[in-house]
Subunit: 345 residues, 2 copies
DNA sequence: GCGCCGCATGACAGCGCTTGCATAGCCTAC
DNA sequence: GTAGGCTATGCAAGCGCTGTCATGCGGCGC
């Protein structure tokens, strides 16, 4: 009971008056051990606050009961945090531990793919939230461990993602139905080397415009320097002689920033300009932002489930999963403003 | 180069034409190995994409090069995510891995303290973001591993935290200086069993009012049912016959919610009501929220540094650290509204 | 020219656990 | 009564690494 040396299985064995093998079997619920012995072992283990050393156990079995997640960008981002919570739940239920590898910039990225630190230190790897280059994909193949891709479609490997094209088409159609004819796609510049699914999202935007016969001229695209570059977006709109009446943004975070910048110059959503987000960010509600919500928890849970299956030596039921998105209508999207009532810009 | 079986040290040894011991030494940069041999070993290791098995290494050395963090509440919360990023940085630089244990509700809490899963599976434990009961504190003592408390003061153990009392006093004084005489402390109900530092924050509020001679009557306290209960707070204020002119809130998240609810009923900050947050949340800027910023990164970095020191068998320079907070003034705090211009409520 | 020292390396035990195989005890069947 | 089988347990090897001790080899001193 003292905080001294953590106990080993041998101590439990001695206390229970059995051999180490029996302790090992009893703790893992083997039917080979008699119920009485099992009870005795469990009691002894409890009294000693015994916990199995996963290192030793892993060495012996070759399975570590640990799954690694490779996240792009900070853990503190809404998407990564949510994904990790969902993954944690699934792993925890299966008595697996979660190990995190994070890549924030090109240097960390290079380092990860050179050293492959996850190698031999997890039973599977979930690659979350950023698209890999083909070279990196190959390199991961050398890991010799099961891989699951999250939020990116990979045809020859297990992956779970949303259908970005279809999602943006739905959102764009919503705005078209509200009467908008001049729409802009608003995106944030990618951080160095990181490719998110923006391309697919833009493709969806263009496809839907085309379907509505609005593809005579090149689509209007506004690029912000970062996720907090709403000010630049609003400036661009104010400076335009044919400003859009609705924005389809690449992410909720960017939309938040745009809304903030709009408020500062007295532009209201949706009265002056409709704004549609993308993500289903937890704060979207507070900003009253209409958005295309992706089922983040579902993505995480699914990825973890597949990873657990693979770690256990199985093959997933469905190697590639496309999760559905949902158009959440709040206050920032509405009918086209009456041209007469538009504020002079 | 194929994705088949991960290589072992023995294979590297064979390829480099040396013994396993030499490989081990060379990889860890031992001066006992000649430079030429080291180079040969490193090359062989690289060719095989060799990575040491931390399980085997840990078994042999008794040190796992892994530090566990116990977080209260979701990883996806701003505080936890930020803390984890900072901790990750520090651990990563020292070639340590990060293991996460999360406690979200009473069941998970009980489970953690019963099973002590971190035992023997990390070299140190950082207890972040929630206060433990004395019983739990004792139980952790049985872990037999170094502990570091983050965001809570523990006198007989290494801990890093902010001085909640002093921080709130500063914020309260700021509002008093602006002429406010009727202040309310706004807090969110604690989730089941979770005690944050709210008590200290409230004590600071009360102490500063007393110092200003405003303690004739009991302090005004408004309790929201949750972090998103701003609506209830605003309703309570509207229903009051002597409403406060300034709010000192318990957290930025709650302040956001209050600001949202205020906007919905046409109350402006600070013209109608000043609102002061607490945390320095990443979104505080977008809400133009004045707040008491705690140095989250610093807290995380410091906790990790101490944990690394302890894991290495050392003793920390400063066992108990109080980190400074900073009053960040934005737009939601201002002078007392002129009574004549207050909106009829 | 021989012994000794120091450097570079190898052999080997052991970390704590799992698991195949051996064993002991008991029951059943003929 | 004995062979055979079944159940409950123990023994021991081995997972991949680290670290201690032993060894071999060249150079130096006298």
């Amino acid at each position: 009971m003292s905080g001294s040396e953590p106990s080993t299985m041998a101590e439990v064995a001695e206390r229970a008056g059995v051999s180490v093998s029996t302790v090992s079997r009893a703790l893992r619920g083997s039917p080979l051990v008699s119920p009485e012995t099992t009870a005795r072992v469990l009691a002894a283990a409890q009294e000693l606050s015994f916990a199995v050393s996963r290192a030793a156990s892993g060495l012996a079995t070759g399975r570590l009961n640990r799954i690694a997640v490779l996240v792009g960008g900070p853990v503190a981002s809404w998407f990564n945090g949510s994904i990790l919570d969902a993954i944690y739940d699934a792993l925890h239920a299966a008595d697996y531990e979660l190990s995190i590898f994070r890549i924030r910039d090109q240097a960390e990225r290079d380092e990860f793919f050179t050293a492959l630190p996850a190698r031999r230190n997890a039973d599977a790897l979930i690659v979350a939230s950023f698209a890999l280059t083909p070279g990196e994909r190959d390199r991961l193949g050398e890991l010799g461990m099961p891989l699951v891709y999250l939020n990116q479609r990979v045809d020859d490997a297990p992956s779970v993602s949303i259908d970005d094209v279809a999602a943006v088409r739905t959102g764009t159609r919503h705005l078209l139905n509200l009467g908008h004819r001049r729409l802009a796609f608003v995106q944030a510049q990618n951080a160095t080397g990181f490719v998110y699914s923006a391309q697919d999202r833009f493709d969806g935007f263009r496809a839907e415009l085309a379907a509505a016969g609005l593809d005579q001229e090149p689509p209007l695209v506004i690029t912000a320097p970062s996720l907090t570059g709403g000010q630049d977006v609003v400036s661009a709109i104010l400076a335009s002689d044919r400003p859009p009446t609705a924005l389809v943004t690449d992410s909720d975070e960017l939309a938040f920033s745009v809304l903030g910048a709009m408020a500062r110059v007295g532009l209201r959503a949706p009265e002056d300009l409709s704004v549609l987000g993308f993500d289903g960010h937890a704060m979207a509600d507070r900003f009253e932002l209409s958005t295309l919500a992706q089922p983040v928890e579902y993505l995480g849970t699914l990825a973890a489930t597949i990873a657990l299956t693979l770690a256990g030596g199985g093959t997933p039921d469905r190697p590639v999963v496309l999760a559905p998105t949902r158009l959440v209508l709040r206050r920032t999207t509405g009918r086209v403003p009456d041209p007469a009532s538009r504020p002079a810009s």
